[in-house]
Structure formats: C-alpha cells, structure tokens
Symmetry: C2
Subunit: 331 residues, 2 copies
C-alpha cells in the first residue's frame, strides 16, 4: 500500500519482476486484500504481454491498515501494527519472506525495520545507500537521509556498510571509499569529517581519502575511481535530491532547445534513476529496500532485483561478519 | 597574480571589463610589476578588437610576493605582506580602490579580507555567496564554503547577508529566503537547521520555510520562487562543486549522443558559470569578490561587473544597516 500510486504501481512492478525472474521466485503482496486482489486481477486480465503462471507465484497477505506518506514514522508504526509496512516486515523478520520492498513512508520503513529486524551489533543507526549513475560506473552514496548530525564513528560505519554493498550488489572487488568533504586535504571538512578521516585512514578499508562534490558525477577524482561516497545523511539527502532534479531540468532545456525527445531518451538511458530501483537500508539484520514514493513499475521491478541480489549474495551476513571483524581488530 | 593562469587571465578580464564599462572606471592591476607590464603590453598589442584609451585607465601596483593556490591561508597572509592579495586588499581598505577582485587562493582571500577590511559588528564569520542559474531566475546560495559547523545564529546571519545581496545585485524586492534542509517540515534537519528555522521564522526576513536539494535548480518549490538558499559552508560547498560538474557531464553525454556542439552551446547559454563571474565574500566591510582559480577572462570581466554593481548599490553600507536594525529589533 506504499507509494504515491498504490497498490497499482507496486503490483505492476511485482508482475514485471516475476515475469523476468526464475520461476522459483515468488512475491507476497501485503496490503488491504480486497483492494490488492481486485487490482491484481485487473492487471493480469489487461496484461496480455505477461507470461502465464504468474498468479500462482503471488500470495496476498492482508494488512488492513495503511500508513500515509505524511504520518510521523514512529507514531505510525506504534499505532498501526496491521499496516502493510509492519506486516510485511514481520513476514521478513519471521523468515516467511526473504526480503522486503516498499515505496511507502521512508521514515516509517526505517523505524519499523530497526524495530522488527534489529540492528547489527555495534551499530547505532541504519543508513540509506543510494546508487548514483556517473560518468564512470555507478557509485554508492551513503547516508542519504537516515541520519543527521553524524559522529565520526558513524561515518566510519557507513563506509563499512557501503563497501559491502558495493562488493555484493555492484560487484566491485575491494571497493574504493571516499569521504565527501570540501577539499582533498585531510584537514579540510567539518569536525566529524576531519575525525572520520583519521578513523578511515586507520581502518582496513580501501580508503581513497577526501573527495569533493564534483567527484560524484565523475565517479571519482583525478586520483582514481571511487565506489563509495561517505557523508552524513543531511549532506547526502541534499545532494541526492539535487541530483534527482538534474535530468528533468536538462530534458526541459534540451527539448526547448530543439533536441528531439527520442535522441534525449537514448542519451539518458543509464541515467534513469529507476534503473537502480531502490535504496537499501543498511545495518539492519534483513533486506529492507526503500523505493521512491513516485516509483514507476520498472523502479519497483528493479528494487525487487536489488533485494534478490542482496539475498543471493548473503549481504546481511557479510555485513555482520565485516562489522565483527572490524570490532575485534586492533585500531 | 591569482588563479591558474595568472597574470594572463586576470589582465585579459580587466581589459574586457574596461572596454565595456563607462570610461570613468579604472582598474589597478596588482602583482609583480615587470610580469604584469609585459603581459599587459603584449595583450594590448595583440588586442586589435579592443577600443583605444584602455592603457590610460590601468595602473600597475607592484606586489612582488605571490601566494600559491596550495598555501595555507593564514600563514601565507602573515608571511607575505607584499603579495598581490594583501597589497590589493590594502588598496581597497585605504580607499585607493573601491573594490577587490581575485582568482587566487580563496582561503587566503577570506583571511586577508577579514583581517584588512574587518567584519561588520555582530558577525562572527564572513560567508561566500554564489549565484546558481536555475530554471527560473538565478538564486543565491550561501555559505558556499567559508564556514563549516555553523550555528543557527550564523545561518540566520547568512540569510541576512544573502537577502541584501539578492536585493542589491540581483535586483529582487523583498527576497524570499529558504533554509536548505531534508524536508519541508520545520522539524526536519540537523540540530543547527532546526534551530535556525525558529530564528528565521521570528526574524524580519521574508522567510519561505525549509527547502530541499531539488528546489535549487527549480529556483523554488511548489510553494513559490526562492531567491536565497541558506546552508552551512560544508553543504553549500559540496552542492556548489556538484553543480559545477553537471554541465561538463551533460555536454559530454550529449556530444557522444550526437547532439551538435553549437546546439548545445546555445542551450547552455545562461547556464555558464562564468556569467556570474565571482562570488562575493559577504560580511566584510568592503567588496571582495572571489573568482574561481580556473576563471576565463569573461568570468573575470563579470566578477568586475559584480564588484562595480556592489559599489554602485552601496551594498556594504546596506548590509551594515540591515545588521544593525536586526540587532536592535525586539526578537
């Protein structure tokens, strides 16, 4: 029931995913079962391009309550234990589902994920990892909004989480971690960043030093490619939203300037945010993928793809081991 | 002597400015006089397109020392009192020059401006105001890197400084001030931003509430246009550098995608960073314009234009009065 056009878009995305995935994979649609059933039946009837046998791979789990996009996260989770958000995450926590995907209220998904899936030992907060298309390869930027006023220790945790994500989901060996700052020099940055620089330098991560705002779209600096950009959730959220506003502006400028739409569509292929589908909430002991409220069916399909890859690569165990190793390693 | 290609580019920019401006205006070139004289003579000989009489409007002031781009600001200013940065700012402080423009070491320019021009009463730090082209009108974003770890009170000061700048230089009446945050709601943001929201709400400014990363390029939110975006210098610097990297990436994508260069050049007209030329250091009792180290002659010319407009509009007095009024006004 999450997102600006629910249950329509999540159902359409689930059908797209099932059509592409190995038939062994199934989807549980969590929501008001009458609404979900009616919408699913309608889409299956209309979806002549869909392969057969999809209905058998879908089960519907009733969740009569709905958390609105504007509700206060913690209060909503407490007062609505039968929301699709809470019920879906409980299915995952109990092992009935291997992963959870939602385009609903991000804050509620975060709060419920921490509450129901629990954090890995040693973590104080989860982080939202977003994938940015760049001029080189896509990069991970985190935290994208789960945490503001972060300590240096938290920035180090984000670096560990992001490195595992880059390895498992983006397939990078020994990912290069950059610390987002306002200059390359270690002494540049705010207090938390300056301290985080020292912690990262002393860590077992492949730390590439400070990076700057211009290095994100470049996918790295003159010193080499960067896989993971670490920042606090305030900076990450501002940059993410700024970034998301770029294609629309460019499209509008180019269209006004007479560049044909099909040429633009081809050029912007690979820069479509929906390619990356969802941003995982890292640090919880489970796979919880946060999709945009305005997600397209394709974005939901890709979010399910990210979830599946995280499960197959055992990303959550990998994060747990990585955090344990770092905790006992001499600093 | 400041910038990546000095004295060549600053001199070329000064000549462009003089060619356009009222003949009453003059330029003082501050630097190693032999180098500056030789370069100026060479450009005047080669510049057949330039109007006559420019040489008489230029004086050369010797400053034998040069602060390198990589030097530590405060140490450089202390150890090189005869640098073009220090000598030029002293000319301004003494009234021999009405304004100062440099493409040199930004940190050194800030330190020397505060030291030689002094801050307005009630300010703790100056702020760098940058002008971003947007889908509506250009907007002011500040602070763009002079301050990290800002207090709520400092964010309020930036709002006051930015509002005067938007009025005097961009010609906006009663400029709308937005506080950059991670959500529209007053309770969203980090600790300083949440407190700043309250201070701004209680101020005499035209405060439009919190704005988000996506509102910068849009020149405002759904609630209306924004003239001034207020943020700490860490966030502002990251966003500025991110922003500056967009045109290059888009140009390269579009060129690869077969869009002709002349079409692109036309579309990107108005989005050229050099249109805005320079970022004023606000809060000091003088006009100190910071230009990019990589400025083109056109950017230098436009920086001189910004300086002139600030002088003509008596921006510095205006800021002083605005700060005084706000200091005595009941909160």
């Amino acid at each position: 029931m999450g997102g600006d056009r629910a249950p329509e878009v999540p159902i359409a995305g689930a059908l797209l995913a099932l059509a592409e995935l190995d038939p062994a994979h199934t989807v549980q649609l969590v929501g008001r079962s009458d609404e979900v059933t009616a919408e699913l039946d309608a889409q299956l009837r209309a979806g002549t391009a869909l392969p057969g046998g999809l209905r058998e791979r879908i089960s519907i789990v009733d969740a009569p309550e709905v958390i609105e996009m504007s509700e206060k996260p913690t209060a909503a989770i407490r007062s609505k234990p039968n929301s699709s958000m809470a019920v879906g995450l409980k299915l995952h926590a109990s092992g009935t589902a291997d992963a959870f995907v939602s385009a609903g209220n991000t804050g509620a998904q975060m709060a419920a994920s921490v509450f129901l899936l629990k954090l890995h030992a040693g973590l104080t907060r989860p982080a939202i990892a977003t994938t940015f298309p760049t001029q080189r390869n896509p990069v991970v930027v985190l935290d994208a909004g789960a945490n503001v006023d972060c300590s240096a220790e938290e920035l180090l945790q984000f670096a560990r989480l992001g490195a595992v994500y880059a390895e498992d989901i983006l397939g990078r060996a020994n990912p290069a971690v950059g610390l987002l700052s306002i200059g390359e020099e270690p002494e540049k940055g705010n207090a938390a960043v300056k301290d985080a620089h020292k912690l990262l330098e002393a860590s077992d991560l492949n730390f590439a030093g400070n990076v700057e705002g211009r290095d994100i779209l470049a996918g790295g600096s003159a010193r080499g490619p960067i896989d993971v950009f670490v920042c606090d959730g305030f900076v990450g959220n501002v940059v993410l939203k700024f970034y998301e506003s770029v294609p629309g502006m460019i499209m509008s400028m180019m269209t006004k300037g007479g560049v044909p739409k099909d040429v633009l569509a081809k050029i912007f292929k690979g820069f479509d945010y929906s390619d990356y589908g969802g941003a995982p909430l890292l640090g919880v002991k489970g796979v919880s993928i946060i999709s945009h409220g305005s997600s397209s069916p394709r974005a939901i399909k890709n979010a399910i793809g990210v979830a599946l890859r995280a499960v197959e690569r055992r990303m959550v165990d990998h994060i747990g081991r990585r955090l344990e190793t770092s905790a006992v390693a001499p600093s």
